[in-house]
Symmetry: C2
Subunit: 188 residues, 2 copies
Amino acid sequence: MSAPLFAKEGYDGVSIRDVAAATRLTPAALYYHFSDKDDLYLSVVIHEFRGKSTVLSNIIKGPEPPWERLEKFIEGLVNLTASDQNFTRLMQWVKLDSDEVRRHKLTEHVFSDLFVSVHDLVAELNSGHDAYMLAISIFGLITFPFELMTTRKFMPGYRPEHDKPAVIAKHVIDLLRSSLKKADGKTG
Amino acid sequence: MSAPLFAKEGYDGVSIRDVAAATRLTPAALYYHFSDKDDLYLSVVIHEFRGKSTVLSNIIKGPEPPWERLEKFIEGLVNLTASDQNFTRLMQWVKLDSDEVRRHKLTEHVFSDLFVSVHDLVAELNSGHDAYMLAISIFGLITFPFELMTTRKFMPGYRPEHDKPAVIAKHVIDLLRSSLKKADGKTG
DNA sequence: GTCTATAGTCAGATAGAC
DNA sequence: GTCTATCTGACTATAGAC
């Protein structure tokens, strides 16, 4: 209910009174359910990510060859990111969080599982690239166009199709294919 | 003087009093030089980026073949990003800024010139990829490892060398080479 | 140009009635 | 569990002395 608020304005930009208005409760009622603002914020953000990362992890653990699972994962994360703007912004706020304890807790719940899944998948590809770096690159390639969504519209060369999930996913896959995909007919 | 403050805590996380303490002025003195907090913030951030993007643009406009200039640009932006942590964080705050007018002004001064330079460079490569998407991908590949710096240390597979600029730059270049670089002996 | 002092508003958090 | 009322402190911004 209040996730869009935190997604838009971040921790410092949202007051307990704002959350109270959005949930049609009073500040005092919120303090009955949460010990303080940090507790409320953590609960909201972690709840927002629950389920989403497990859906993507399941894609990654499918029966297909690694490259095909990677393609499906890329399409899945692009679609998720495109369909829920709060998702990307909440991740951005996590990365920027200036409170170390809070950022550590969020990282654990928000990034870890999915990162491990992608890391293990790209390791299977045997591409020669460092799996850790490669996993980070893939997340960067997928999320960066969405992180820039509100600013890149002013850049030269922009066309509305650059916002379409299918176009973004295809671009990422095309960019990675020649570096990562083993030749089709190759056998051990 | 107060750029590190805004880099760490963002617009909402830094008060006029904080800036006053950092500059050893009083809030009232700051209001003599700046009309309001927005004016102060914009001045600080834009000043922080001046010069930096022109240095990189000059690399891009060198005499070498396009792919070599792209390699040098990647190394240059990686080194800049690695040497000045404020740089990355201020860019992240710009992307997340919830005030549309402020974000528009910052985008103009912070992103535009460099984006245009990279866009035109990758267009020269004739790689077959959309130049606009490709420019965004390159910025994503370079900056994402630094945006995740504080959180990815907790991820499995992490080694300290993953923070080294040379390693990050090499990874990005290696990842892009087979997709973007024309065969060496090719002539028109 | 920089100061002290302060106006006016909003923040996080709590006490106590129901 | 949720409310009204309120405490305490921090915030942006300004007035006016020097």
